[in-house]
Symmetry: C2
Subunit: 335 residues, 2 copies
């Protein structure tokens, strides 16, 4: 009896103490094939968590930032938030008879994606404005939530939030189990991602950074209300990503993952030492879309998720380029 | 021997398991006198952490927001960041001969505080612009750090970061020990506070929200650099506080503490239910400066930290008003 109690207490101690820095026995990245990418990730995590080691990084500095579109979930044939905005225009069309003749709404309603694309950034901002601005934060979150629970991807025929990458979910978990705080830093809208990031990725809203429209506070019938307005406060892409990191996190991450040239400056900001004395280990990761069969294959010639300069710098700066086809045993989670 | 081991393991288990929801045996708020304020705080924390209780709040929702000036540290005779900015103008004056004749710099250099105050918001923005804009994030942090380690409060004759409130430090610790995530939400500058918030309050930079000037990213001689620019992106005061919370946290806190009418909207945003179905317990706290001897005594007639409407609403909305003189055994930490 006494031995059983002792064993019980010892087991409790071990499980309670297991955490940052504790050696893992099971494979922490089961959906990753053995190879250079997986080895590089594990070596990095083991060295920065080894107490007393020369590469040890204290807990508060273990900040990891992840792009979302194309890094944590798919982004073809168009950023999913773009597809949401198009669906919203269609849904709201009955209240806007003028859209029948006004671009880019006219082309959206006609299903002429090519003409919508041709409307460029101006057109896109109008479409986003129609669906994202002048609504309360609650209304916006409810419309995203409703869309995620009903809409299906045009070719994959699955809900969008099932098109997340299983190997990246494992990577997020593995980093967190080793004391990392994981953040999203995405060109996508901050309010859009916050609706599903906690459930999909285990990343709470306060660790989601994205492109940001302004908002204002007002009391409506005695109820505190946030209303989204149309002014762009942060375009969290390219040079905007380090600015978003500075604004929301306030320190240099030691790990960053992206998939396109939009992530270049985040990878530079994360991995380049500020001065010669700084020898902190840092990790840059690029997801290279090489799998036309299970996902999509694209890089420097793609309109969505263009990856060109990123591949050049990856070589110079020793970033890990993940070959989706070769490195991943599976792409999406089993349902 | 075996019993000693057992005891050791049991002690380990207990300390490892102690955490959110665990009953506290020692007084968690030793610098607070027994009374209504202390009782209200402890009752609130105990009910929201009682698993299975009707008032239980899940860990991710245990968000607590604190104003800084006048709530976590003193703010008289002027916000400490204002005193920093004035010191910076004096320090930089040799490089700006034109300031000898140009207001508000002229009055700053003449030590004419009354004239500086009379220059109003325009003057203040000029002074802040001179010290806070067009510098890199590293340069700015270094100048704040240097100032904190050398400057002394004009009457208290102590470094500014020693003028933090011991009872509030205990409250922050107590909330964190019970699974709360603690944030600063202040009208003060986000970059200014991040320099000392981790050491002074145990609040990491990513949980500091404040008034925000824009910034830009650039590579300088191959080094990723953030440069602070002069555009105001968020005035994190009054109606700006709920906006800052929405932007950085993305959900409604359940606990907020302030000390002035600048905190009114944060307290409303935190404590007012959004609809009739929401019965989540919520806590509003106001630090009332009633102690002219140990700190300062001021409220509705003060230019700094004016508290008027806050006292009216505190009664209506059942917020806890902390009487600094009566409720606190000590104000500042022992050195």
């Amino acid at each position: 009896m006494r031995f059983k109690q002792l064993g019980f207490i010892a087991a409790l101690s071990l499980s309670a103490l297991a955490g940052p820095g504790m050696a893992q026995t099971a494979d922490p990245l089961p959906s990753w094939n053995d190879g250079a990418s997986k080895t590089a990730i594990i070596n990095f995590v083991e060295k920065v968590t080894k107490e007393g080691g020369s590469d040890f990084v204290a807990l508060p500095e273990r900040i990891a930032t992840f792009d979302n579109d194309g890094t944590l979930w798919s982004e073809q044939p168009l950023y999913f938030q773009g597809l949401f905005a198009l669906d919203q225009v269609r849904e709201q069309a009955p209240n806007h008879p003028e859209w029948k003749t006004e671009e880019p709404y006219k082309s959206v309603l006609a299903g002429d994606t090519k003409a919508v694309m041709a409307s460029g950034m101006d057109g896109l901002m109008k479409i986003i404005g129609a669906s994202h601005a002048n609504v309360t934060s609650e209304e916006f979150a409810a419309s995203v939530s409703e869309w995620l629970s009903t809409a299906q991807h045009p070719t994959k025929k699955q809900p969008y939030n099932e098109l997340v990458y299983q190997p990246m979910l494992e990577l997020l978990d593995y980093l967190r189990a080793n004391g990392f705080k994981t953040f999203i830093v995405s060109g996508g809208g901050i309010d859009f991602m916050r609706v599903f990031a906690e459930q999909a990725y285990g990343i709470p809203p306060e660790q989601v950074i994205g492109s940001t429209l302004d908002a204002k506070f007002e009391m409506r019938d005695g109820v505190p209300t946030i209303v989204k307005t149309g002014d762009l406060l942060l375009n969290d892409d390219k040079v905007g990503k380090p600015v978003g990191i500075y604004r929301h996190i306030g320190r240099q991450p030691i790990f960053a993952a992206g998939n396109s040239d939009g992530d270049l400056q985040m990878l530079q900001y994360t991995t380049i030492a500020r001065d010669a004395e700084d020898t902190t280990p840092r990790f840059g990761l690029i997801v290279h879309h090489t799998d036309a069969e299970r996902e999509w294959a694209y890089d420097k010639d793609s309109h969505i998720g263009k990856l060109d300069q990123g591949l050049v710098e990856a070589e110079q700066r020793n970033w890990t380029v993940v070959d989706m086809k070769a490195d991943w045993k599976k792409v999406y989670p089993d349902n």
